[in-house]
Amino acid sequence: MKIAVCVKEVPDPGPNRRIDPGTLKMDRSGDRSLNAYDLNAIEEALRLKEAAGDGEVVLVSLGQAKALDSIRKGLAMGADRAVLVSDEAAAGSDLVATSHVLAEALKAESPDVVLFGQQATDGDGAVMWAAVAERLKMPVVSQISELEVSGGTITAKRQTEFGYDRIQAPLPAVLAVADSLNEPRYPSLKGIMGAKKKPQDVKSLSDVGVDASRAGEAGSRTTVVSLSPPQGRGDSRKIEDDGSAAQQILDFLVERKLV
């Protein structure tokens, strides 16, 4: 079974993240890591491969060339190789553009299953799988909390606003998994050492057959018009527990008259 996992490098959450007021784009200069929810998708891919007894797990991403540093974590967990589409002309791609690039990169891989995590932590997006499935003309099931694959058919359980759905679909299919589906494994030291040697292909837009007019800002259909000054939670604080965290929480609650 061949499983592709779409992953994304994101800026680390926290007070240091900002949008550049000049360009209206996210300032991507800070620390970055693999989108946390993608780890559940990678874990599920590894389990599907293990259950099938053979196969391949390929990580597919669109991002800056240095995103490989983050993506390597998935290789350390056990994925077999990575394909990163990286091209200056792809900067600023929105859903329309990104889904086109990912779909073209995925077509070259012909996977049986395409997996996504439940959201990206940077833009709070939770729609990419539906757009990619549409472009690949594959069935899609999202928010999966239980997954079974047997005889070329998947059966998935997922929570909606009204209860639980059980949905079946034939392979190939696009599946987006909830973070409740599994507990992502930690990379072993051996995995981390071995990750560097696994194939990591960096491809340009033309390598995956995408015309530059369909990627980046040229291929995007949405725009940021303006930004307003920070609002809401002004003086938020983040502390590391040094043994006194409980006392600090109590002091904070007392100060706010909540205890």
Partner: protein
Amino acid sequence: MSTLVFLEHHGSSIQKGSLGVLSKAAAIDPDTSAVLVGSGVAGLAEQAGKYGAKTVFVADGEAVAAPLPQPRVDIVSRLVQEKGFGNVLFAASVLASDVAGGVSARLDAGLNWDLNDLAMDGGALVGKRSALGDTISADVGWTTEPRLALIRAGSFEPKENGGSASVESIGTDLEDFSSKAVMVEQLQEQASGPSIEEADILVTGGRGLGSPEGFQLMEELASAIGGAVASTRAVVDSGWYPYATQIGQTGKVVSPKLYIGCGVSGAIQHKVGMQTSQVIVSINKDPNAPIFDFSDLGVVGDLQAIVPQLTALVKERRGS
């Protein structure tokens, strides 16, 4: 300019969120219509007229009975192309998000999500959303039509405007790949039990508790501080705690005076259910957890150590 609103229904009523978006759309664009897809839904169409839809397009048939996204992508995309709608609006839900994503790719139409307000600026639709953990507010736009938007749950209240809709039947022809996913069963959940919506203080346990037993720590803290215990989709999905206590898009929307999140990552699905809490305190061992973006006090640490200490300190403080 004309606007189409996707209506989601459950049983014999149209979802409040859909009617809220329809009311807002009608208020900013008099040329607003709606689309309703399902089996036996023709009777619901007239409801939509009261909330401002000029025309309600109804795709009624067994083939579209199950609430699955891809058949709806076919129907909505075809309708938008035939009628030339400039704006297509969705109230965010598990179903509507997947429909919107599919329509975006089918029509190469821009989609802005998580919007909490809409406005017209010189005839052009402008969406408003907050970003980066609600620390910044952005006005977002579209470079081409149709403009697609997913509206955050609870942004608009339904308002009857005394109008009435003409109902127009449309076809339910589907692409081959759109009917490959099938609904096997739908299980209803009873949202009964203790009400987390009434509590002033909520102690919320997430997947970071590590096991169902972790909820004992939540219950002890809640009891000491005078609050109720709430949960996340992840732990409910895992069977650790009852559905009735779940906060989020597919659970309850709460705004307590104090929200304490323990081992809660802060996924958007959870955040939309608790972001209006007055004070948010979170404890998580992962320094990159998104919840730290919208916490007043974020603590990076081991909740198994911190929570019992906090419970003891609160008991001491309250003299109990």
